[in-house]
Symmetry: C2
């Protein structure tokens, strides 16, 4: 089946339809939106094995992973359904009037979150379901009350088309305005550019490469009306090994990290691409153990040829850098579509003088940086760019001794992990998946968890409104029974 690029005229028609739909959809109750979001989950489930097979065919992902990801996707549809049905997410705040206040009366002012308008979503190659057509960006934007235009990812167009069909069926079945969702196709840059530049677009969600995300970010800021771009781009997710703890847990740490490095053929945004340790006996033993684990590991098929080629090119680049010592690579045979796990190490002073070594290698690779002392460890951490995650492996008493390091490290990441691995992003209210640039374009917002909805809203204050004219969320009697800040006090 072939999918033609959507024309500029078709895009404009879709954007106009989305704007018309927005003016009614933004006022639809949380309960109605909840039914719609739950219906998307049901329709995705109704696609059954056919969807799973399509994803497997288009992405080379194994069945268990695809089913798991499908469940994660229906899971976040239901999570946002629960969130908007309950309703407190709008951050309602009420300050009642004080007509006799001197020198001037205080007016009645109330505030709540309202949707921004139409959101354009670019899905991720590595999450064909959970971060694509009905992914976290789309579902959180729809939950917020925004229409969504999804550009199908060229690497899994058929999957995207099936998922889009499920969303359209859910729209029909729950009586939503049909214009709130559009699915467009584009193999080159033109369609994406036209979507981001369209005056009716109010925000952009993107998951992918630094080059792609940054290009959209620049385009959005050059518009007559600049708009926010939430791009999740590039992170090497450093892991710092504290020496005493490492000396007691060499093989455990090696097997923990090898598992994380090779998970999903290294194709996760939270893949640990950098390991930082002191140059000592424990680290030498750890390197030996990690090397052995990587040697035993198997290459796996990558998502598509472009990603596989890029992994080989980036790997070759790193290999050729002065001071790079290849530690080990998987000894299994592999074909050019497969990502072959490997690790290297480098002295900290070399790493510090070659910024290209801090750039992401998307695939099952990690670079171990050997520091001669604590000062150098501090320098390496201070030199890091913004990251989605930073991890420290160390027991509590030793972490206490490295408090100032942890203090600096926290400035580099959106999520700090102790004694775990960065892969495996829990979907829950406390998750924050969004770190300082270049890991994302806006460290203040998360693309995972319920707070992802906050990207697509802005506060609107209502001053001196009669009760009947206010949105339900702000009415005196609190008809929705939501949490609200009333005259400085949080209550239901």
């Amino acid at each position: 089946m072939s999918y033609q690029d959507t024309s500029a005229e078709e895009i404009n028609i879709a954007m106009q339809a989305a704007q018309v739909a927005f003016l009614s959809y933004k006022n639809i109750s949380g309960k109605q939106k909840a039914k719609f979001l739950a219906a998307i989950a049901e329709e995705l489930e109704a696609l059954g094995g056919e969807l799973v097979t399509t994803v497997m065919k288009e992405t080379n992902l194994p069945e268990a992973r695809v089913i798991n990801e499908r469940n994660r996707t229906t899971g976040h549809c239901r999570m946002f359904a629960t969130l908007v049905e309950e309703g407190s997410w709008v951050d309602a705040s009420i300050d009642t009037a004080l007509p006799n206040r001197m020198p001037v009366p205080k007016p009645d002012i109330r505030k709540m979150m309202r949707p921004l308008g139409t959101v354009v979503v670019f899905g991720a190659a590595n999450f064909p379901l959970a971060y694509s057509t009905a992914g976290g960006d789309t579902i959180s934007a729809l939950a917020a009350g925004c229409p969504v235009i999804v550009k199908a990812h060229p690497a899994h167009t058929e999957t995207s088309t099936k998922v889009a069909g499920a969303i359209k069926t859910a729209i029909k079945k729950t009586g939503m305005p049909s214009g709130i969702f559009h699915h467009v196709y584009g193999t080159g840059f033109e369609v994406g550019q036209a979507l981001v530049k369209h005056p009716l677009t109010k925000a952009v969600g993107f998951t992918g490469s630094l080059a792609g995300g940054k290009a959209l970010f620049d385009l959005a800021n050059q518009r007559a009306e600049p708009i926010p771009v939430f791009a999740e781009m590039s992170s090497i997710n450093p892991v710092i090994l504290l020496p005493d703890t490492l000396s007691r847990n060499v093989s455990k740490t090696a097997s923990l990290l090898a598992g994380s490095i090779t998970l999903g053929v290294g194709q996760f945004c939270t893949n640990p691409g950098l390991i930082i340790a002191l140059e000592d006996d424990a680290t030498q033993k750890f390197l030996d153990a990690l090397s052995e684990e990587v040697r035993k590991s198997s290459p796996g098929p990558m998502l598509h040829q472009g990603i596989a080629d890029n992994y080989i090119n980036r790997s070759n680049y790193v290999r050729e850098q002065p001071g790079i010592q290849v530690m080990s690579e998987s000894i299994d045979t592999h074909n050019p579509m497969q990502g072959r796990p490997w690790i290297a190490s480098v002295a900290a002073n070399v790493f510090l003088n070659n910024p290209s070594l801090a750039e992401e290698v998307f695939g099952p690779f990690s670079l171990v940086v050997r520091c001669t002392d604590r000062n150098e460890l501090h320098s390496v951490v201070s030199s890091l760019h913004g990251q989605l995650t930073c991890t420290v492996i160390g027991d509590a008493p030793e972490v206490k001794q490295y408090e100032s390091l942890l203090n600096v490290l926290t400035e580099k990441a959106g999520r700090v992990i102790l004694n775990g691995v960065p892969t495996g992003v829990e979907v829950c209210p406390s998750m924050h998946h969004g770190g300082p640039f270049p890991s994302t374009t806006d460290s203040r917002f998360s693309s995972v968890g319920t707070d992802a909805i906050k990207r697509f809203v802005r506060p609107v204050a209502y001053q001196n409104f009669e009760n009947a004219l206010l949105p339900d969320e702000l009415k005196n009697e609190n008809p929705l029974g939501i949490w609200r800040m009333v005259n400085g006090e949080l209550k239901k």
Copy 2:
């Protein structure tokens, strides 16, 4: 007294000192920060009449207004002190571990707001105290835990220097790290550019012109690491008069609006620069009454010569546009430093075809747009750019009839007012002072009220931390007694 431009080297030294200070200041308790912010208020009060006289001399503002603004400034210092002392503002969220969950265990994840880093503040000419050196931007950033570098406004350098002295005294008296506040001077663009471009700057607060704010926004986005700019820039604050209500309240409405147009010589960002009404008898009577009010009003001294010149130039430009009918102007004599109130009217079709008429005229001026029918009223509202505020004058039954107009209007503004005037921005939790572009660069954040603190923070998630290593806000025992979301439930 003369103030030399701060050199690039001095700026770099200040930024480095701010970064060092940040690494300790960010971990200081809310209680300690509260003492510091309250001390700023005390030191400002200790400056007494000398500060008031200096402001009056530099800005031409009358004594009562200056005292009022000083009290507003000490008021927001204490408001943020109360906020950070109580502590719930950090949005703490806790999801505890489920080690036995299938297929994978759920880790313990906790999240709270943490400061971004050093913030550069550009003060406003029209609020020499409340939106300048110790203004809402500075105080909310310090409350968040960010160091602040203020560039003194060239139009009130002496005021700024005195206020900076008060902040520095408060730092000493409460034992804060000295590097958290720096005060720099610059008459041209160079100093501001150097501050925004400096790699250690993490956010910018600005209040001023569209040209100035947009230039800083562009500069910040062109950095290797783009940073957020919160610029409050340009708004004409449209007021829509509904016909039935107007017909019953002609003179009341005219005097209400005349008061708002001429308040503070029209030098408020919420000044009502556009009035939209249907072309009917009531509107004709309203225009007569408003004209009479404006004729009787007095010119007043503007903040500085640049603003006065700009008001004259912009007024002359509007006067010369085809279709503009001058309705009335103040009949008092005035000198070139004084802003002379005047109003004009124009037919909606002319307004719709001349976008320059929708640009801000900073001063005591308003343009009345006459619409032939409801459709044209709808077109004019739809054509509006983003605004800080939009106002509707209409009683509840009539507003109900214009529900679709109100629905569109809400998309244009950060604050919607019924039967009031946009001037007079209440400082309270429910205030939202920040509308769609070009009124601000980021409609999602407010520069007034307690939520202004949200501009200078980002969430950080802590995964699998032992209790003792967590910030107090996230410890199991909730030692600060703050509101937290714990496993999906809001509790103290």
